[in-house]
């Protein structure tokens, strides 16, 4: 195995594109090291992106935030502006592993590892985040939900890497939240995860909503019918019931040791509802 730690994105892309064997990006390494050490993968080349200055920064951009691909979860949690604007995204990132894991783990790595249960992804999808992909053909901006292709697979082409994630400006009356269900309180993999981001007008009526579900399909699901159940309502009981029903219907889970498909479908509804209530209360705070 060859290890390279280039200092520019261009150099990283050239290294990855020029390798004929298996080439892997190394960010925090909290997934990659486990895969490497257990022999699950045997890359010919590992390209560490942590020495590339622009992947280490959180920058304000167009009223939102651009988060470099090597920024750790701990660094996101310490960023007051980011935390105030996107509390749901930051909470989701802070659920990843222990504090020791968060000192290294990145949101972009969580996304590119493409686990259906990745905690930050439903929150990012709900927030309408995009990923900047750079590769041999230049740079493009992709909605976060289009990055994972299936369990452990991404839609990135040869030599392409995620350079940064972008969270848009938080609008007036907008709030986001993320909740996951696990049998323990810490250090476990989501049985179901739910991210909700919604906007309320001055009368408390929902004008826009995005609902994303994790761990109930091969990749994170953007549940459009669930979001539609909220738009135009004041998020009263009837609207929340409709949301829960639509979220359960959108889930396509499997049976595994963490829970049966039937259980997961039901939890998806309950969790989407609870998450929406938190997002609503945050949106009200933001409108005030």
């Amino acid at each position: 195995m060859r290890y390279e730690a280039p200092e520019t994105l261009d150099a990283a892309v050239a290294l990855l594109a020029g390798e004929s064997g298996l080439a892997k990006v190394l960010a925090g390494g909290t997934d990659l090291l486990v895969q490497l050490r257990s022999g699950m993968i045997e890359p010919a080349l590992v390209v560490d992106i942590k020495r590339i200055a622009e992947t280490r920064r959180i920058q304000e951009e167009s009223g939102g935030f651009r988060i470099g691909a090597a920024v750790s979860g701990a660094e996101m949690g310490e960023h007051a502006g980011l935390k105030a604007a996107w509390p749901g995204v930051v909470e989701a990132v802070e659920l990843i592993g222990s504090t020791q894991v968060q000192g290294r783990a990145t949101a972009a790595g969580n996304l590119c590892n493409a686990s259906p249960a990745a905690d930050s992804v439903p929150a990012l999808v709900a927030a309408g985040a995009t990923a900047r992909i750079v590769g041999p053909g230049g740079s493009r901006e992709l909605p976060v939900e289009a990055v994972a292709a299936g369990p452990g697979r991404t839609s990135l082409g040869r030599g392409e890497i995620v350079a940064s994630l972008f969270l848009p400006a938080r609008g007036a009356g907008q709030g986001d939240a993320y909740l996951r269900f696990i049998p323990r309180t810490e250090m476990d993999i989501a049985v179901v995860g739910a991210g909700v981001c919604l906007t309320l007008d001055g009368d408390g009526r929902c004008t826009r909503a995005r609902v994303a579900l994790g761990a109930v399909g091969p990749r994170v699901i953007l549940a459009e019918a669930a979001a539609a159940a909220l738009v135009g309502t004041t998020l009263d009981e009837a609207a929340l019931d409709a949301l829960a029903e639509a979220a359960s219907a959108a889930a396509t889970p499997i049976d595994d040791k963490r829970g049966t498909a039937d259980f997961r479908r039901r939890v998806a509804g309950v969790l989407a509802r609870r998450t929406a209530v938190i997002a609503r209360d945050r949106a009200k705070g933001a409108a005030a």
Partner: protein, 174 residues
């Protein structure tokens, strides 16, 4: 392919040649530098026995590639007392608190617990709430179940260390 890296371990600069880039920071410490205080419980980030401070942050040494630590500053349990020997018997206050509160039985998890507690106290997020201390220490497993003593030790050490900081601030102000 051989790599040469230079890193500071407990304040001493160490130059190490690595024959394999897959060597972790934990294996570097234990096998090459013979600092066996950091333990290998799971080798996959789940138990916290290998916790060290890397550039001031607590991390799992088993999840870091040694080559990626070129130029880094690492503090392990062996170097902790030298950083602040103000606890009983010239130990670091967190070490002294673990002894005072029986924060261990077999001791296997203890170096990781202590390094993690040092990190937690520096992060300044837990306050004096036992629930938040338990949450902040949830990346460190103890098979002996010494959790009650560990939580008390962390709370006590936090009191001692934050009182110390306040004292320094007063000195600075004077």
């Amino acid at each position: 392919m051989s790599f040469s890296i230079s890193l500071s371990v407990n304040g001493v600069t160490r130059e190490v040649a690595l024959d394999d880039p897959r060597v972790t920071l934990l294996d570097l410490l234990r096998e090459r530098l013979h600092l066996t205080g950091s333990k290998k419980g799971c080798d996959r980030g789940q138990c916290g026995a290998c916790t060290v401070l890397l550039d001031g942050r607590r991390v799992n040494a088993c999840l870091a590639l040694a080559v990626a630590c070129d130029g880094a500053e690492v503090v392990t349990i062996e170097g902790l007392a030298a950083q602040d020997p103000s606890g009983a018997d010239g130990l670091h206050p967190v070490q002294a608190a673990f002894i005072a509160h029986d924060g261990f039985q077999c001791g296997f998890c203890t170096p990781g617990q202590i390094m993690s507690a040092v990190g937690l106290i520096r992060e300044g997020q837990a306050g004096d709430d036992p629930e938040r201390v338990r949450e902040g220490m949830s990346g460190n497993l103890c098979r002996c179940g010494a959790y009650a003593g560990i939580t008390e030790a962390v709370l006590e050490a936090q009191r001692v260390l934050t009182a110390g900081d306040a004292g320094h601030e007063q000195e600075d102000a004077a």
